[in-house]
């Protein structure tokens, strides 16, 4: 555009004359222009490269984000699966059935010890399997009771634990009569817990059962 505007006044000029020093002026201004153009090009290039890098970084970040979101979804899913197994194992149906399978019955004659008054309330009597006091196996339907405790595995684990504990006690008595009770106990406890866990895994068929049994099957472990 500037070229077009320059033409007009040129054509309207009455006469032409030599302008002194024009060449010198052109020479003086040519170099800075070239430098400016170079600077401009370099700047633009730098901006373009920077933009490209930024874009790359952002898009890879987006893909990373998508990946992390997918991972989060997977983890939430497995947490939900495990939670449902725990819910199933801690359902009244499961606990009652497991307790019954292990031979536990409720005692209709509770006895209370009043520690402060040193008194016993009630008359101690053994729990009996009376027709009236005993409730038969689970009668309450539950379609969500999908993960179950296996009584035989619990029994196996408990007896393994008991055997181990007996063995530990016997060993400590036989080999080291000076061993204190405190040094024996932790060893047997650790042993029994490991044993119990191994017992379950060994008998379990699926990963779901393992999860359940580890939570549901060791309530009595630390005491003998």
């Amino acid at each position: 555009m500037s070229a077009v505007f320059n033409l007009k006044p040129t054509s309207a000029r009455p006469a032409l004359s030599l302008v002194q020093g024009l060449r010198a002026v052109t020479d003086r201004q040519a170099n800075p222009r070239l430098a400016f153009a170079g600077l401009l090009t370099a700047g633009l290039l730098a901006i373009a490269v920077l933009n490209l890098l930024l874009n790359l970084a952002t898009s890879s970040g987006v893909y990373e984000l998508a990946g992390l979101k997918a991972q989060k979804a997977r983890l939430e899913l497995s947490s939900q699966i495990v939670k449902q197994q725990v819910d199933s194992l801690s359902s009244n149906q499961n606990l009652a059935s497991a307790a019954q399978a292990m031979g536990m019955i409720a005692n209709a004659n509770p006895v209370f010890l009043d520690v402060t008054n040193k008194k016993v309330y009630g008359e101690p009597a053994a729990a009996t399997l009376g027709a009236d006091s005993r409730v038969s196996g689970n009668l309450i339907a539950n379609a969500q009771w999908t993960t179950k405790s296996h009584a035989d595995q619990i029994r196996a684990a408990l007896s393994a634990e008991q055997a181990k504990a007996t063995e530990n006690v016997a060993t400590s008595v036989a080999t080291d009569s000076t061993a204190t009770a405190s040094s024996t106990k932790p060893a047997s406890v650790t042993g029994s817990w490991t044993n119990a866990a191994q017992g379950y895994v060994g008998g379990a068929k699926s990963s779901t059962s393992q999860v359940g049994l580890a939570g549901g099957g060791i309530p009595a472990a630390p005491t003998h």
Binding site: Q93, P110, L139
Partner: protein
């Protein structure tokens, strides 16, 4: 200079300039049209092509028991959908080797995982539609197995699913929701306001690869999850009571049975067990009649348990005491020769009011009841909560019927022993709560709090009301007579005794009116309602068994009463009584 004709060169230049100017104007106008006039429309169209809106489902709130144990919750489940137009063999890596999987093979694998018939699965894979549902709402572990098959034409879709981890435990109270999550029954319906959430949405712009375009706007409307509803129910006790009732309803071949445990001094319902019960996870497995709460909805003529109300009215009015003497014949004739008989054969008996209650004598109680005018008795019934719905306001709750004026001469008398009126099992429990709480009836409390997703806690039921029905002294005399009913030999009550504890209670063997309204059938509604420990009543238990076929009197209701009450005493660590029940003479 101005008059000089422009040179050819200049003329061309001008034309070029004019052309450029015209083009510039055209471009400019078009630009204005696109950028300003049509801009919103174009933007919207473009956004619609790139953007995608997904619903972020809100999770329905949990229902928990008094101890926070989850009775109902919402989890993600998965619909297994297929695009039948895409169904064809595909390549998948099996043990690291690329293998072609045929459609048959894929269908067989799907069927094995989903527990379906392969033929049925195959049918669902055929067709020209883009959508076919193979399985609905499968759980997370099944979904993982399906996903691991890597079938390119299977599209699982996430959908929230309501589950009840304890199955039929309190199922009759909880109710259930439909497959689309819509509440259908019980507390799921009545407490929907607390439980329901508001779905959110997420809108973002995605590229061809389905990944969000970097830097594009992401509009999220967060879902509002539902609140947590806390009940007063103790789920362990509820389970035990349901087990006991299921056993006795089965053994006695009854239509149904219910057991309600109430904390006497707070009006909290600790257990409301029914048999048969409904597993809300699978409600279609039981008959429609067994899917709701009979404890709140069914009314029946209560029978002899109402004799305590008649006795309490008379004592409170000062017209009788536990020692009031009557001569009770086997049969009496009232109001135009209407015959009233006792259920067991006996001669003329010299009974006190205590004796009347132990023997559950109809001919005896009418001699006590007639001492109070009918209108006075109606006033007491109302104060006991009969004839009106409870504060729980359970969906479909019945009010029962009491007559303001006696419909006929005979009903003035029959209402003294629980005929010519109907009540719900819940109302009957709170009549005895009134006795146990020394004359003050509290409104039943089943719903405790609603904790919203933001943590705000609100009381679900209105403030509890306390109605003074009886003088404290009257209530104490009634409790003593209830104790006598259990502690003294001779009546049904003695079979409800628990060694070591002072128990008070009263039996009822009510006739059931025929469906046509004429006369009574051969089957009964048997009940036993009582409290423990009687020296300072803490817990009230009401057991009802409807139409037992192997027993015909309330002897069928005392064994479950005893079993559940023993569990109540164990659960709440109630020490055995240190004193003996008072003995009020039954005869004179």
């Amino acid at each position: 200079m101005r008059n000089r004709a422009p040179s050819l060169e200049a003329l061309r230049l001008r034309r070029l300039m004019a052309g450029i100017a015209v083009l510039a104007v055209i471009f400019g106008l078009r630009l204005v049209q696109f950028q300003i006039i049509q801009a919103p429309q174009i933007n919207a169209e473009s956004l619609a092509r790139r953007s995608i809106t997904t619903t972020v489902p809100a999770m329905r709130g949990d229902i928990v028991d008094a101890n926070g144990k989850i009775l109902a919750t919402t989890v993600m489940s998965y619909d297994i959908n297929v695009d039948p137009t895409m169904v064809k063999p595909f390549n998948a890596k099996v043990n690291g080797v690329d293998t072609t999987i045929s459609v048959d093979q894929a269908a067989n694998e799907l069927a094995a995982i989903l527990g379906m018939d392969p033929v049925e699965v195959m049918k669902k894979l055929q067709g020209t539609s883009h959508y076919s549902q193979v399985a609905k709402q499968v759980d997370g572990s099944t979904y993982v197995k399906v996903k691991n098959l890597d079938i390119p034409w299977v599209f699982p879709q996430q959908v929230p699913k309501r589950i009840y981890p304890n199955g039929a435990l309190a199922g009759n109270l909880l109710g259930f929701v439909g497959t689309e999550g819509q509440p259908l029954e019980g507390l799921e319906v009545s407490e929907n306001k607390c439980l329901a959430g508001v779905d959110g949405s997420e809108t973002y712009q995605r590229g061809v690869d389905g990944i969000k375009i970097p830097g594009s706007a992401d509009v999220k409307v967060a879902p509002k999850n539902g609140g947590t509803l806390k009940l007063t129910i103790d789920s362990d006790l509820q389970y035990y009571a349901q087990q006991v009732m299921a056993k006795y309803v089965r053994n006695e071949r009854a239509d149904w049975g219910s057991a309600i445990v109430v904390e006497a001094k707070t009006g909290k319902i600790l257990a409301a067990a029914e048999a048969p019960s409904v597993d809300p996870n699978n409600y279609s497995a039981v008959d429609a009649g067994n899917r709701s709460s009979r404890i709140f909805r069914v009314t029946f003529e209560p029978g002899s348990t109402v004799k305590m109300v008649t006795a309490a009215t008379a004592i409170d009015q000062g017209v009788a005491t536990p020692l009031t003497h009557v001569l009770a014949p086997q049969t009496s004739y009232v109001a135009n020769n209407f015959r009233i008989s006792d259920s067991h054969m006996h001669g003329l008996e010299k009974l006190t009011l205590q004796g009347i209650l132990i023997e559950s004598s109809n001919t005896g109680i009418i001699q006590i009841g007639i001492k109070s005018p009918y209108a006075t008795r109606v006033k007491y019934w109302k104060n006991f909560g009969l004839g009106s719905r409870t504060a729980v306001n359970f969906p479909g709750e019945a009010s029962g019927i009491i007559h303001e004026t006696a419909p006929d001469g005979a009903s003035v008398y029959t209402s003294m022993f629980g005929q010519a009126m109907t009540i719900t099992p819940m109302q009957s429990a709170f009549v005895y709560q009134t006795f146990a709480n020394l004359g003050v009836r509290l409104s039943p409390k089943l719903l405790d709090t609603c904790t919203a997703a933001d943590g705000t806690v609100t009381q679900v039921q209105k403030a509890q009301t306390a109605t003074r029905v009886l003088k404290t002294s009257t209530a104490r005399q009634i409790i003593s007579m209830l104790e006598g009913d259990v502690a003294q030999k001779g009546g049904v009550g003695s079979t409800a005794a628990i060694p070591g504890y002072r128990i008070g209670g009263k039996s009822g063997t009510a006739q059931i009116a025929n469906d046509n309204g004429v006369g009574y059938g051969l089957l009964h509604a048997i009940s036993f309602i009582g409290m423990a420990p009687a020296e300072d009543p803490q817990y009230v238990l009401a057991v009802t068994i409807y139409k037992p076929r192997t027993v015909s009197n309330s002897m069928g209701a005392t064994p479950p009463f005893k079993a559940i009450l023993e569990q109540v005493l164990r659960t709440y660590r109630v020490p055995p009584s240190t004193t003996k029940s008072p003995i009020i003479p039954a005869t004179w």
